[in-house]
């Protein structure tokens, strides 16, 4: 009997079962609405902004994120807030205000497709293939993590959990495509929050409110330093081991902009919006819940730190990663316990569904339709998308079992593919604002930027170079990739042919119709974006 085992009753299982039935029902209902490949892969570009905005944030709110951020909260204290307020909000607002006009306005169906139009086919193929492989691997990691937690909490066999999780996600995406994924993501958002909120409420009652919590944190080894975000960042003598320069430029700029603005699993949600205004508001609407999510991740992490005896063991049941499951065991009575279990399961499925729906779109449009079978009828590509979904999930199950064999491979895979983000962002941003940047400069920027970050990562793994923490390494890796990509673009461009203005219409800053349409919709996204950034700034003040 595992020490994490929850005392689940009939009613908790009933709540979980109702959720599964609802999710599948959404898949069946969405199937009726699919008449074309645009319906399947892009929800027919018909979604209102609040739906795409919540789906945008939910696609990011996978359980790895929730469990991981609670663990960071327990380990590093309030500095974990940087992942939200500086590490997400500015990039989300930037995506909505600056980049979305190019994405949505150029009518591309995916991020790789944008690269094909702006640069050339090699750039496109490199990005499409690496993205597709990464999504399948990460889906497998999500699946394995789901199975691990169901095994610990409910005593399910690994096999059972992996198959149940995979079959449900598979069913609703094969049936309903992106519409089903997005509708379920919006639903998941509410279930996740409803499931986590009781942990924060009961936990705070137990420790005597926020003041009581902070007082108790001061008495832990983490101490006063765990209650500040910026105060000790003049040097690296703080829980996170990072200076303000690393936080602002590494986390806040390169890592976060790379993830939020070029990760197709996220951008796809905005591409499904019904018009340009809704597309631009998608990430900005997502920013508002993102501001408050620490209340159900970082705060429970601190509560676990002060209430769970022995938390922080290097392995076994008492690792930081189990902060949320341990609190569920200690604090939640049957009923809300069922909602919390459902919320965790939902968040795993949200993360996995985002990976799978990103994968099937890129595979079908960017690999199959572009390089293998052109000019078939539309229904053919819907079929390819459905087969790709099944194949992707089966491979995902396979990688889940590979992940099971290695203790830490999940971290490596995640870190490895985050290496793609920083050079991609650099290539994008230079390509969007520097019209002269040539097609081949795009390819070499992307490729050499990745190679630079990858080399640094290998040197870190083999301990040729020493960093204070994995986190510090990732800051430096991202920064190096970014600089490399920019320098390579500047060197190669003068020696290679430029693209004509006609080819670049709507793809680079100051060209085409994108900006004309912009003026009409300018006011709302910018105003909302500024409010989100100001709120992030204000939230920092009490925990300076």
């Amino acid at each position: 009997m595992s020490g994490l085992r929850l005392d689940v009753g009939f009613v908790d299982y009933l709540i979980l079962a109702i959720y599964f039935v609802t999710v599948l029902g959404v898949g069946f209902a969405a199937r009726r609405a699919i008449k074309s490949s645009a319906d399947f892969f892009l929800s027919g570009r018909s979604m209102p902004a609040w739906v795409t905005g919540l789906a945008f944030i939910s696609a990011n709110l996978g359980a790895l994120e929730i469990v991981g951020m609670a663990a960071n909260g327990a380990q590093y204290g309030l500095m974990t807030l940087h992942y939200y307020w500086i590490g997400a909000i500015p990039a989300m607002v930037f995506l909505g205000i600056v980049m979305m006009p190019f994405y949505y306005g150029s009518k591309v169906r995916s991020v790789p497709e944008f690269l094909r139009l702006r640069f050339n086919r090699p750039t496109h193929l490199f990005n499409a293939v690496s993205f597709a492989v990464a999504q399948v691997l990460i889906a497998g990691v999500n699946l394995y993590a789901l199975a691990l937690i169901l095994q610990a909490l409910l005593g399910w066999q690994l096999w059972t959990s992996i198959v149940v999780g995979a079959v449900i996600v598979l069913s609703y995406i094969v049936l309903g495509g992106l519409s089903a994924a997005i509708y379920n993501e919006v639903l998941q958002f509410f279930v996740i929050v409803a499931g986590l909120l009781p942990i924060t409420i009961i936990g705070l009652v137990k420790v005597g409110g926020i003041d009581g919590l902070f007082e108790k944190v001061r008495q832990t080894p983490l101490g006063e330093a765990g209650l500040h975000t910026w105060a000790d960042t003049g040097g690296t003598d703080n829980p996170l081991g990072a200076s303000w320069i690393g936080i602002v430029f590494g986390l806040g700029f390169v890592l976060s902009f790379g993830y939020w603005t070029t990760n197709f699993a996220e951008v796809q949600r905005a591409l499904s919006a019904k018009d340009m205004s809704a597309a631009r508001r998608t990430p900005i609407i997502g920013a508002f819940p993102k501001l408050l999510i620490p209340a159900v991740t970082v705060i429970p992490g601190l509560i676990a730190l002060v209430t769970v005896q022995g938390l922080g063991a290097p392995d076994g049941d008492m690792t930081y990663n189990n902060a949320i499951p341990l609190l569920m065991r200690d604090l939640l009575p049957n009923g809300v316990l069922g909602v919390a279990v459902t919320g965790l399961v939902a968040s795993f499925m949200a993360g996995m569904a985002a990976n799978v729906s990103g994968f099937n779109t890129v595979f079908t449009y960017d690999i199959w339709q572009t390089y293998i079978r052109k000019d078939r009828d539309d229904a053919y590509y819907v079929r390819v998308g459905r087969i790709a979904t099944v194949a992707g999930i089966i491979v995902g199950i396979g990688t889940a079992f590979i992940a099971a064999g290695f203790d830490n491979i999940m971290n490596y895979i995640q870190a490895l593919f985050s290496l793609f983000n920083a050079p991609l962002f650099a290539t994008f941003i230079v390509g969007m604002f520097w019209k002269r940047m040539s097609a081949w400069a795009g390819f070499w920027s992307l490729f050499l930027g990745f190679l630079a970050a990858f080399t640094l990562y290998i040197l870190h793994l083999t301990e040729v170079l020493k960093f204070n923490s994995d986190l510090e390494q990732s800051f430096w890796g991202a920064g190096l990739a970014f600089v490399t990509a920019v320098v390579v673009a500047a060197i190669i461009t003068p020696f290679t042919p430029r693209k004509t203005d006609e080819e670049l219409r709507g793809l680079v800053y100051g060209s085409g119709d994108a900006l004309v349409a912009d003026r009409v919709w300018w006011r709302n996204p910018v105003l909302l974006g500024v409010i989100a950034v100001v709120l992030a700034f204000l939230l920092y003040i009490p925990v300076w």
């Binding site: 009613v11 009933l14 709540i15 109702i18 959720y19 609802t22 029902g25 959404v26 209902a29 969405a30 009726r32 609405a33 699919i34 008449k35 074309s36 739906v51 509708y183 919006v186 639903l187 509410f190 279930v191 409803a194 909120l197 009781p198 409420i201 009961i202 009652v205 137990k206 200690d330 604090l331 939640l332 009575p333 049957n334 009923g335 809300v336 909602v339 009828d377 539309d378 229904a379 053919y380 819907v382 079929r383």
Partner: protein, 87 residues
């Protein structure tokens, strides 16, 4: 015709509203019958009752929003004009 009716029925607010009304009712009912052991575990907070009522309220709000602001009639567009569409 049946297709269009289904599309109207299939609004995300109806899905969220429906699920949260059901959850709200179940959890509120449990909240009424929580014994002292359950209450002690939850630090004396009637958490099932409050969360149940909260979820019920969210569900009803979603359904109310749907009623006050129903989805627009989908554009007149028949499956037949698009060749090769499934179904």
């Amino acid at each position: 015709m049946a297709q269009r009716k289904l599309a109207r029925l299939f609004d995300v607010r109806r899905v969220i509203g429906g699920l949260f009304v059901v959850y709200g009712v179940i959890v509120t009912l449990i909240g009424f019958f929580d014994d002292s052991a359950e209450l002690e575990k939850a630090q004396g907070v009637r958490i099932n009752l409050w969360m149940g009522l909260g979820m019920l309220a969210l569900g009803l709000l979603m359904l109310l929003w749907l009623r006050l602001n129903p989805p627009p009639e989908p554009p007149e567009e028949d499956a037949e004009v698009r060749p090769g569409a499934p179904e």
